[in-house]
């Protein structure tokens, strides 16, 4: 089945098997491997991307459901000149990542969270990131990063 999806501002047209998950489409057809896969039960959030501006777990959608839609992945966050997105910068400054495997999903979920709630409390951040698991950081510095990004905004 042929689909056309805009990913990070570029339009892509591919023939995909109808059962292809969006995350596999992004990684294997579009070739953007920054979006990670951490589970098979929609539990971990490693695969989070923005669909029309809102964070979704890309393992919960079929590629065909994204036909005609806009996707933004972690590769579309920093400026072309190398300037990090403020959320990426906040993660860096607050040591919000260790192995970095959950990080692309965290950054996508966190930016979407601030979009909805620009001045969250600590508890808002913890609850808002409930769908994104990290095994390394204990979340302390992730929460701190998101609060710092909100404060800098």
């Amino acid at each position: 089945m042929e689909i056309t999806v805009t990913v990070n501002g570029t339009s892509h047209t591919h023939d995909v098997e109808p059962r292809t998950l969006l995350v596999h489409y992004i990684r294997e057809h579009v070739g953007l491997t920054g979006t990670n896969i951490g589970c098979d039960t929609s539990s971990c959030g490693a695969c989070s991307v923005h669909l029309n501006g809102e964070a979704v777990k890309s393992c919960t959608l079929l590629a065909v459901q994204a036909d005609g839609q806009e996707i933004r992945t972690i590769e579309g966050m920093a400026d072309a000149d190398g300037t990090l997105h403020p959320m990426q910068q906040a993660f860096m400054e607050n040591h919000g990542l260790q192995c970095g495997y959950c990080t692309p999903g965290m950054v996508m979920a966190a930016t979407s969270l601030l979009e909805e709630n620009p001045q969250p409390t600590e508890q808002d951040v913890r609850l808002g990131l409930e769908g994104n698991l990290c095994r390394c950081t204990g979340y302390h510095n992730i929460v701190k990063s998101v609060l710092a990004a909100a404060a800098n905004d």
């Binding site: 539990s43 860096m92 260790q98 959950c102 913890r126 990131l129 698991l133 950081t137 979340y139």
Partner: protein
């Protein structure tokens, strides 16, 4: 209490780069999706491997019919275990035969006649895509003759069902450590004790659950004969040796690379069937072969952690001073012995007396048993969290027995700061510590006395929200390890680490390290060590690692060893580079090399401040070699292999404050304070991150996690929907206090920090829960302290109390 709590004490002044909160060099590639994890690699022409796994915990393999799978379009080959038998030069390796008579079943990457746990591989498919490979394994027809499962340590010990027929028993080994000044001392201490404690604790099995599941790519060079293995591993170097031995592959033609690795926690410290399969099949098919693990495959096919029943007895005199410790441990090996499975519980053998001054009266014994569950192996802390849990829970039991405060009983037993370096009852020498100081910082940070007063007010007879305060004071035996000590423990390898420091012609620096980071920030920390030594900008240092061709020598990353062994090696290599550079500078400046001083990246002659030469100039001289001293080789490059003289001994105190709802069994963590003294901190930012993450993993064992098997040996928690890895909303912010006691055993004064948080956390949390409920007669709650387990513990102790009150039966 908020997440932005800052460190309260201040770090000792550091003139240089060591001690600065430098942002990580690793971050930009990870934050932008540029990092390449193994499964991100694009490998043209690769075949995809899928493994058919046993749905039975224990069964005879009667037949494996691959015909339908082979016929599927896109499938290149299907193999049963028997088809592959000739590919293995020897069974899968266990590098730690802990006793001479240890029993170990032969273990091959794919089973041939019996399967011994749910997840044991029975056949493999090679196909053009991952999807086809997975579709095809569904078409393999296997006939099993089911046998009974063994899913508990007690059942395993009874030999009711023997997992491996050929061994005749489920007991793999019994390892003893009896330390007495005179024969019978331990028993005499118990006979004479004013107080004794006898407790049993259960360490539930845990699933390590690194966020990146495992992945493997093997790329052969069919005509040249070389083979490159990319694997999501913590141990590229050890893996290379083990692959060479297991497959009979010539080691000099093997290259192992760990690309970006998404966490390990011990579970990637192993040699796995899929690594051997990918290489063997890439070789056989003369094309690349790749495999990546699904999460529900990961929970059964990657090693699990813990899994022990611990019996601990303490004897103490009238002052509460420990006089003897006796430990009987039974450890669940799972179905097979993986790389270091049998040794894991023994890493804790030296720590069951904790941070306390115990005379030579220690009796430890551990039996390892086979069950029909996924093999266990290292998981963050490996043996040491288990030991710390037992002694720290038991110390609280002793405090209860004596009716004194848990901090008091600890203070009566601490090894005093003046006793360091301290030769322990085991003969190991503890390097440095001040336990009372660390406890004092934690006590103050948490307002211990205030909390005790509040608790006395709050925990009235009919109060349903009960306050509990739990403490643990611990040692983290790390910096694995002096090779001779490993030899005495029958471990098959050494514990040294290698480092090369190379000054390039333009004075940029390459560091080659044998450590293999997967989140710990070695690129940043090693750059800081080098920059500090050489007086240069850390940005001018590049750290090369995790590729056996670029970094041929190394012992990899686990056991909180990277900094105290690998980082120290980097520092030593810098010192030797400077020594050589001094000879060149002396020659150029026409001075004696004894008179050459080096500071801030500049060589100068003592007493002649105008005679100086920057490192960059010396580096270029070394490169051109136009005018070097006669006996000096060109270039500024030094390689060091460092075997640590001792373990390092980080220590600290954790205090956890909880509120337990007796009606629902829910536990709310109100506050968590950790004081982890890991010696000199190269980069406090990284240290704090390690502690945060470690604490949450320990706290998760206490509150949330546990691998649950049914009586047929099926894993009931095989996905992230069932196995409760905590989310941000499930855990508290963590308050850190600072204590810095440099290690005297290495030139950097460092100790290591990777496992500390995990070691201290579980006992602190569980002591807090039991503390909240002790008035209700609760003395233990099984981990994880889920609402159900807490509620059940309360209600069974209440009904026991009622039965007693009514004259009981």
């Amino acid at each position: 209490m908020t997440v932005t709590d800052e460190i309260t004490a201040t770090a000792p002044e550091s003139a240089g780069i060591i001690g600065q909160r430098m942002l990580r060099k690793e971050d930009p590639v990870l934050l932008t999706g540029e990092a390449v994890f193994t499964n991100d690699m694009v490998v043209p022409g690769a075949l995809h491997l899928a493994v058919l796994r046993s749905p039975y915990a224990h069964a005879k393999l009667i037949s494996v019919d691959t015909s339908a799978a082979v016929a599927m379009p896109g499938v290149q080959a299907v193999y049963s275990g028997a088809d592959l038998a000739e590919l293995w030069a020897s069974p899968m390796p266990c590098a730690w035969p802990v006793t001479d008579d240890m029993l170990s079943p032969e273990h091959y990457p794919i089973a041939t006649d019996t399967v011994n746990y749910v997840g044991d591989g029975v056949a493999v498919v090679l196909a053009d895509s991952n999807m086809i490979a997975h579709d095809a394994i569904e078409l393999i027809d296997v006939t099993y003759e089911p046998l009974e499962a063994v899913t508990s340590i007690t059942d395993a010990l009874s030999d009711r069902v023997v997992v491996h027929d050929e061994l005749g028993t489920n007991s793999s080994y019994t390892w003893n450590l009896l330390v007495e000044e005179a024969e019978g001392d331990v028993q005499r201490a118990f006979d004479a004790a004013a107080f004794t404690v006898s407790e049993q604790y259960v360490q539930q099995r845990l699933i390590p659950m690194a966020m990146e599941p495992r992945a493997v790519v093997a790329v052969p060079q069919p005509f040249g004969g070389d083979m490159t293995l990319y694997s999501s591993t913590q141990i590229p170097h050890i893996l290379k040796v083990m692959v060479a031995v297991t497959l009979g592959f010539p080691e000099h033609q093997l290259r192992v690379v760990a690309p970006a690795v998404g966490g390990g926690f011990g579970a990637k410290l192993d040699v796995y069937a899929e690594e051997l399969l990918c290489i063997a099949l890439a070789n056989k098919h003369a094309c690349p072969v790749r495999w990546n693990e699904d999460r529900s495959e990961n929970t059964v096919a990657t090693v699990q952690g813990r899994g022990q029943v611990q019996n601990i007895e303490l004897a103490a005199d009238a002052n509460g001073k420990l006089t003897a410790v006796r430990v009987r441990l039974v450890a669940d090996m799972g179905a097979y012995l993986q790389l270091i499975t049998p040794g894991v519980p023994l890493l804790g053998a030296f720590l069951y007396a904790g941070v306390y001054d115990l005379p030579k009266a220690y009796d430890f014994s551990c039996t390892g048993v086979f069950t029909t569950m996924t093999p266990t192996d290292a998981y963050r802390g490996a043996g040491r969290p288990e030991a710390t849990y037992a002694i720290e829970r038991a110390m609280n039991a002793l405090a209860a027995e004596m009716d004194v405060d848990p901090l008091d009983v600890r203070r009566r037993n601490f090894i005093g700061p003046e006793q360091y370096p301290y030769e322990a009852f085991t003969g190991l020498v503890y390097d440095s510590a001040d336990h009372d100081a660390a406890l004092g910082i934690a006590e103050e940070l948490v307002d211990y006395n205030g909390l005790r007063a509040q608790q006395a007010k709050q925990n009235t007879a009919d109060e349903t929200k009960r306050l509990g305060i739990g403490v643990s004071t611990y040692f983290e035996m790390c910096g694995l390890a002096p090779s001779r000590v490993l030899a005495s423990l029958n471990y098959s390898a050494g514990g040294w680490e290698a480092a090369t420091v190379r000054i390039l012609p333009t004075s940029k620096v390459q560091v080659v390290t044998g450590t293999s980071p997967h989140g710990q920030g070695h690129e940043t920390a090693w750059s800081m060590i080098v920059a500090d030594k050489l007086g240069i900008d850390p940005a001018d240092v590049d750290v090369l690692h995790s590729d056996t061709t670029i970094a041929p020598l190394g012992m990899d990353t686990y056991g909180s060893r990277s900094l105290p062994v690998g980082g120290v090696a980097v520092g030593m290599a810098c010192d030797q580079v400077i020594a050589k550079a001094k000879q060149i500078a002396a020659h150029q400046l026409e001075a004696s090399s004894d008179d050459i001083e080096f500071a801030g990246g500049v060589f100068s002659v003592a007493g002649s401040p105008d005679k100086e030469m920057p490192l960059a100039a010396v580096a270029f001289e070394a490169f051109t070699a136009h005018d070097l001293p006669d006996d000096l080789e060109p270039n500024l490059e030094v390689q060091v292999s460092y075997d640590p003289p001792n373990f390092s001994w980080p220590f600290g105190t954790h205090i956890c404050v909880v509120e337990v709802d007796t009606e629902t069994g829910a536990v709310d963590v109100l506050k968590y304070v950790a004081v982890d003294d890991c010696g000199v901190q190269v980069n406090p930012l990284i240290v704090e991150g390690q502690v945060h993450g470690g604490v949450v993993q320990g706290l998760a064992q206490a509150l949330y996690e546990g691998a649950v098997y049914d009586s047929d040996g099926n894993l009931q928690t095989s996905t992230l929907a069932e196995y409760l890895v905590p989310a941000a909303s499930d855990v508290p912010p963590i308050t850190l206090g600072l204590s810095v006691t440099p290690s005297p055993t290495n030139s950097l004064g460092v100790k290591g920090v990777g496992e500390a948080g995990t070691i201290g956390a579980a006992p602190a949390v569980m002591n807090a829960i039991v503390d909240a409920l002790s008035d209700l007669g609760v003395s233990d709650v099984p981990m994880p302290a889920s609402p159900l387990n807490v509620w059940t513990a309360i209600n069974s102790s209440q009904s026991a109390a009622n039965t007693e009150a009514n004259g009981g039966s």
